[in-house]
């Protein structure tokens, strides 16, 4: 069984670390690369051809929205936007959806908690699984 390959694009090392921790907790998902902004994100996408991208919106150099615009042209990559601006109805969230983001969810919180549920990490995992067409993994802690 091969794991789905995930690219994490976020300008914060902590965020990248936390998200990797969350994503890797799923047996069928694996973080294969990081980028700290949209520009390097696009390069990584070309190199790694990930199955899905976890994308932050607010980033220096090239924002998540700008990266999404290019991704929309470059390929059919599946994108889950994970952002603090990520209320589903915020203008940025709507723009992200228009540009092809498959899901827009809030950033994780409570990273220090050992419980994935409490970290809100399950939201990321479930969103990725849904986007990648994997069965729901709700029963997992």
């Amino acid at each position: 069984m091969s794991k789905k390959q995930i690219l994490v694009v976020d300008d914060s090392f902590i965020m990248r670390t936390i998200i990797k921790d969350i994503v890797d907790s799923d047996p069928e998902l694996e973080v294969v690369g990081f980028a700290e902004n949209g520009k390097t994100g696009l390069e990584r996408v070309r190199e790694l051809k990930p199955d899905a991208i976890v994308l932050d919106l607010e980033m220096p150099e090239m924002s998540g929205i700008d990266m999404l615009k290019r991704l929309a042209l470059l390929g059919k990559a599946k994108v889950v936007v994970v952002s603090s601006v990520g209320q589903t109805a915020s203008p940025q969230a709507i723009e992200a959806r228009r540009l092809g983001a498959q899901d827009v969810i809030a950033k994780p919180s409570g990273a220090m908690s050992l419980d994935l549920q409490a970290k809100k990490g399950h939201e990321i995992v479930q969103s990725l699984r849904r986007v990648l067409g994997l069965s729901a993994a709700g029963e997992r802690g």
């Binding site: 902590i14 670390t17 220096p60 470059l74 603090s84 209320q87």
Partner: protein
Amino acid sequence: MDTLADTLWQEFAVETEEHLQDAESILARSDLQQVGVADIAQLFRSFHSIKGLARAMDVHGMEGVAHQSENLLGLVRDGRASLTVDLADLLLQAVDALKQLRDAVADRREDRPADPGLLSRLAAAFAEAGGETAPEAARAAAAAAIAVPDTPLHEDPEMLGIFVEVVRTLGPELCGALAGEVDERRSANDAAESLAHAAEVMNFDALCTAFGGLRDILQPLVYAGQLDDAARQDLTARLAETRLQIELLAELSGHDAGAEAFSAALAQRIGGERDRLGLVLVALGRSLRQNLAEGEVLAAEADAAALVRSARSLRIVAAALRQKRSAEILVLAEDICARLASGDLRLSEAIVETVDLAVAEIAASGLDDLADADADRIAAELRNLTRSGAQKALASGERVVAGLHLPDPLLAILSDENIAALQRGIGQRMLAYEVLVHLEADPDTARRWTAWLTEAAQSITNRTVLHGRESWFEALLLTHLPPAALLDALRVLDPERHCIKRVRRLTDAPGGETLLDELPPGPSGNTAAPFGASSAPQNMIRVRGELIDALLDDIGEFRAMAAGLRHLIRGVGSREIMARSRALAARLPAELSNEFLALVRDARERDRRLLETEDIIAGMLSRLHQSALELRVVPVDAVFNRLPRIVRDLAQHQGKPVDLVLEGRDVRIDKSMVDALADPLIHMVRNAVDHGIEGPEERRIAGKPERARVTVRAAQHGPVIHIEIGDDGRGLDAEAIRGKAVARRLLSPGDADNLSDEQAYRLIFEPGLSTAAVVTETSGRGVGMDVVLTTVRRLDGDVAIRSEPGRGTTFSLVLPVSAALQTALIVHVGDQSLAIPERHVLAVAEIETDAIRLIGNHRSILHRQAVLPLYGLGELLGMTAAQPGEGRLIEPIVVTTNGRQMIGLEVDAIEQRQELFLKDLDPRLASYPGVGGASVLGDGRVVLVLDGEELIQLAARGIEPAPAPSETVH
């Protein structure tokens, strides 16, 4: 303490410090007028990031302050508020507060609440600037989302800009399509794929077609090694078309779509090509002139044909480089050369010189297009040529006089009388020859030559040919002598070949039939040899595989005939004749006896000389055979180079990091083995990755490096090739294999338990019991291990398995260097010829039928004190129902062995031993029990090559064979 938590807290301190520093440095500027849009965006992002980080780490005090500050800056960013001194002050207070809170967290992991006063001041400032609280904002946005229809991406002007930018960035990478390296070609292919998608999203159909077309051509070529000229031309033409599209896009969008950069990239890729082609053209032009000067019309025509091809390639390159004028000239040159090559236009110094000059000017212009004035002048000259040339055009039929293809230089000097004489001579069944003689070399020979010419031949015409600095003499003559007799006559005239250098019989084919060619190489390099336009750049030639096979077949047949000759000379027959002759001599009267014995001695002497000669011939044949065999040997890399891609794809697909190590890639094996071994090797390597190697997790737990290793190693030891396929995976599970074998009823449980692990491993070669089925329960793909073994056996090799649980598995193949060639005994059963490989044949015997006994229940004979069970070969293969040997007194038997057991095979006739080439066999036939391969005999008969091992198994199992394979073969 959790190391991840430690890391995160440390990073939290570092990252928040960075963001706070960034914010502070902007907010603290003395002149806020200088704070631009980018700075505001940066400020917003800093607070936004701090908010996100604080939230992730459950630091709610910081999150609150950062959140309020971010909201405020959101208004500034959106132009609804401006960054006043007061606002900057307030935000600096927020920075200070965040620093204090952060320090408390970093030092003591203490989440202190934020200062409520600061929070309310921030909230007040936000409200004052007209900001809405989050729920309001969300409602407003939701309303906006409903109100604003979804703009399709291709109608979005910003997306157009981004599209152009994407084309600008990726466009030049497309030119990597022409690169020699796989990496660049792959990037080009990816770029074409992405661009095709982008163009599709943006509804640019033509661009989509251009990019998609490039991708479609390139995709199969990415891993195709060196691109051939046709592929390069194809790609170059596509890239040129793409550049046009990019230029159009720039016009349409008003943005720079990178046409210049694209052109530069293209020029970089094909500039060298242009130079190379330019040089080729110049060289061809020179060769053409030279050949023309020497009257070598055929060679010149070949040059012209080569010129056409090169000119076409260069034209495509020039067009891709936007050298319109050069391309235009090349079209004209191409046209003229094509007409020269077809004989439509007669070769003349003027034509050649003009074409040559045109080509030289284009070659010299490098990466610049021809200047208009030059192009106009050259074009006018070339057009003029074809006009006047058309009048000089020679009907191609005219060159053939009385069914002869006369070389142009000779034709040019033929008078009407000469032609009439030719017609007459040919009518009298005389043959036409062209003879080149060097009369200055030896006056005596020259005299003899002239005398012979008047006596035995009819001279039609002759001309002087310059060879280097010597003047030679080329004669067209008619004679009744056939080629061999003519050569004999000429040999008498000139035994040392001082004078007579070349003899050609003129036929209706261009160039005729060369009977003798003793031309020394020209005195200097630039004197072209009269034959062939130019020598190959390297001392290498390409030969079709079938040609070599045919050669080997011929040699094989020749050897068989030589063996027959040997038999005739050394055989019992001649000894018997000698013995009888002596006996006869004894009964003759003395005077006759002496005479007779003298004759016998003569005959014996002749016999001895025959034997010597036969020895020499056999030795030479053997060497010839060896040399021919070496023609078929290629590096094993021809198979190995397919493996990395397979391993990479499979490893990627299964999420197993795997290193493939290839060793001994330059070991050489027979070409036919390359073909035969490819599938088994690929299968075993796939198996290694698929089933041998564990997932990274399992490896980690087992304390192994996560990156697995698959090693494929080839080595030659004398006449034997060893190929090993090893992995460092989990090893074979002997117990599981035993279980499976029992479940499949291949073994009884008791037998299974008695098997050693090594014996159990070998069970995976049984049909229907692949490692896949045993170890992972996932279905194997393509051929199974049983087919691997069959193939290797067919190549006269064997497979051994070494496996250690948890440490990995190694398959060792041992094969002869040239397994494809086997000596076999040809036998007959019914009307079918069958071959039994020599290694399985222990003896051939003719036994009397009444020597056959029933031992047990089986017909057997005694053979060298051993009981030899007899089997009808046809019966064993299920070919004949008739009782073999019925009604015969003597029965031919082939004693067959697998090294351990012996059986006697009854056949209808035993023909001969012969060397056979195993041909690829239809898989249905290959899996047929007892059949190992097929071959074609020298006389074209198809024979099935049997597998002794399988025959003995068939005999031992008493398996009822399936219907006759003979129908499939014929």
